[in-house]
Symmetry: C2
Subunit: 417 residues, 2 copies
């Protein structure tokens, strides 16, 4: 089954919105053995017609997102009906659902809203509990060689549950039963893409696996696709050669791995952030259940806040500067004491674009890990990059430092005390 995705929306072509649909849908379809072979983004309007027509004969399943709303640029429904020669009909059941939704929120419907109750004849409805416009499934028309076309809402909070709860079961029912390939991911922190490939690339390809590398700031993902028994042998090899750099062998993000590890061990964490400005706390509290392990975060941007909230010695700041190892250490130890957590992470650095000096240029940072009853670790680092990537890299390094400590892995090569 060949899958293509068409994302519609002039706003996508103007740069106001990042298109997250492909990444999300691809991940949801993979367990069905389905791979997206092509994704196209076009503006609202006539380009949608060409994009849909382009898939005829090339794809078996076409997912079209966006353009189902109430405004005049929402014409996906009309275009698809016209292209397939299907009549658009008012669907009383959809209309009732829309009216009930509006009534629950104390809102009034209008004629524009009513357009969302139109359905191409032959299409079945994918109900949308999170928004007004339902999804629609127009089945493949064999004699005309048209694919299964699914019209899905654009807003991610409507799209995501519809894909998971409605689309995936329909696709599973359409699929012939057969051998499905599996995917394994190893996520590596602290070494570069070409080092990773040199270590494992040839051996993995010799095993007949499909191997992909994905480099992100500070991180490389190694993705293997193939039959399960080969993947097991490959996993052993990857662990032997890259083990100490692997922070997870599944799809979890680093903060998720950290929160789950702390939960399993019954440990708790506090953060004392200067240059990361709450990024680490936010990453950790994005993980459901974080409240079990995350006790408190102190975003001590101003020097006075470092002293007032964490008890950092003002004289120490005057002597070494706020961006220094000794201050990072006192921040971590202060957070540990104030919060009563098992661990505390602290960051102090210069995110830029301004604020650097000759001695401490933009990108300079000190990361500290304090642990109840153990020696505090202070890690000097330098990340020369943009402000947001800097925050990410510092957060990553801090969480990696903690995770290595929890895992008993070595590799904190640059550690100083």
């Amino acid at each position: 089954m060949r899958v293509e995705i068409i994302n519609t929306g002039t706003e996508l072509m103007l740069g106001g919105t990042v298109n997250t649909h492909l990444a999300f849908i691809a991940r949801e379809l993979f367990p069905l053995g389905l791979r997206v072979q092509r994704q196209v983004t076009v503006p609202d309007g006539e380009a949608i017609r060409d994009a849909v027509r382009d898939t005829f004969g090339k794809a078996d399943i076409v997912l079209v997102t966006g353009g189902l709303g109430p405004t005049t640029d929402d014409i996906t429904r009309d275009i698809v009906a016209e292209l397939l020669g299907l009549k658009l009909e008012h669907d009383e059941e959809i209309w009732r659902a829309i009216q009930e939704r509006f009534a629950r929120r104390g809102l009034k419907t209008n004629d524009r809203v009513k357009l969302q109750a139109l359905r191409p004849r032959e299409a079945t409805v994918l109900w949308n509990p999170h928004g007004t416009a339902p999804g629609l499934h127009v089945p493949a028309i064999e004699e005309r060689g048209t694919p299964h076309i699914f019209l899905l809402p654009g807003p991610p909070r409507e799209l995501m549950p519809m894909v998971r709860e409605k689309l995936v079961p329909i696709l599973a029912a359409l699929l012939p039963h057969g051998a499905q390939h599996e995917m394994r991911t190893f996520r590596v922190l602290g070494i570069g893409e070409s080092v990773v490939e040199e270590a494992v690339g040839e051996a993995l390809i010799a095993m007949g696996l499909e191997v992909g590398y994905c480099a992100r700031p500070g991180e490389v993902d190694v993705r293997l696709i193939g039959a399960a028994p080969v993947l097991d042998r490959a996993a052993t090899l990857v662990r032997e050669r890259l083990g100490k750099w692997i922070f997870t062998s599944d799809e979890r993000e680093l903060p998720e791995v950290v929160v789950e590890k702390l939960t399993a061990l019954g440990k708790t964490i506090a953060t004392a952030e200067s240059c990361t400005g709450g990024f680490i706390a936010n990453q950790l509290t994005n993980v459901p259940g974080a409240s079990k392990v995350f006790l408190a975060g102190y975003v001590t941007y101003a020097n006075s806040a470092k002293t007032a909230a964490l008890g950092v010695d003002a004289a120490l700041i005057a002597q070494h500067g706020a961006v220094s190892g000794p201050v990072a250490r006192q921040m971590a130890e202060g957070a540990l004491e104030k919060s009563g957590a098992t661990f505390a992470l602290a960051t102090t650095g210069i995110a830029g674009p301004d604020g650097g000096t000759a001695e401490k240029p933009v990108g300079t940072v000190f990361i500290a890990l304090a642990e109840c009853g153990a020696e505090t670790i202070v890690l000097p680092e330098k990340f020369i990059t943009d402000r947001e990537t800097f925050k990410l890299r510092v957060s990553q390094t801090a969480l990696d430092l903690l995770l290595r400590c929890l895992d008993g892995r070595d590799g904190v090569a640059k550690q100083t005390t």
Copy 2:
């Protein structure tokens, strides 16, 4: 000039990475009067060939991102050279730049790295100070009807400066001089998409403008494209009808607007976050120069932290619960006092998926704004959504509350004291 973008990368088709290239590039090209007419994502390999060939005769400028790295799945360079019948040659100048980059970082080059010094004959180099592989510009070949093809690196931190500093000047030089359309954006918070269109839609279209709406959680952007004098009249109309909901009439995000407003007024801010877990602090500190106005953030997730860090009365928590108006008020007032800031925002709520009760279901939240010398405002809200969108909606509402106060706009309809 017709522009198309081809993003390559198997990792994009597997869902591990969100593709941010289109949004970024579209925004950078707009001021040149260039619109992206189509964007395609394909996996590494032969699909790249089809995607590039597909643009011949349809586009004048084709931007291909990704696949320039050192690993075996990086074959964009080879495919484009082959497709255009251009020889790939080792470029000694690129190779020297790569070697110097590696030497500076104390790394050794290997044969795979050297492949990145290959250049299709006729191509010019776009130097890449942020990564190893340079970009390449293969000019249009008139007799063969091929477009200008730009090969650009995939990692955003390499792509972004290359687009801004290298690509945009080359494109500007290629463009014929002529009337360029302008774009105006009005960003609206607190009313829905169909209400926005009902208020201004017909009138704007009657003016001959291209009108686009983009709905995001809690927010609607109205984008107008047309000639400058018409846009000026349209702006007056939009302000008259939607003024009190507009938080900005440019591309800035809400946290940027807040930080710049505070800076202009010489005011400062502190945050006391429970359910948002550092999200607000992180949003504010993403803005360069935030250190001038953001003094301190307290992420008081545990009740003990609310008491210890902010002085919230433990008896008050016992009486009303941590998620309550009185606790939100004490959090904000505590943050104001501890930090010495002009304003303090506090949030306490139930982000979910767990932790809700019959009386206080998931989505319940109290937001407080304390101001030095003024009455504290407490705003009860309910956002029934996923955990991360919940944090975003609460943050947005909190920052909007502050901005309305700074702007002297009304509209805090649900305000209670």
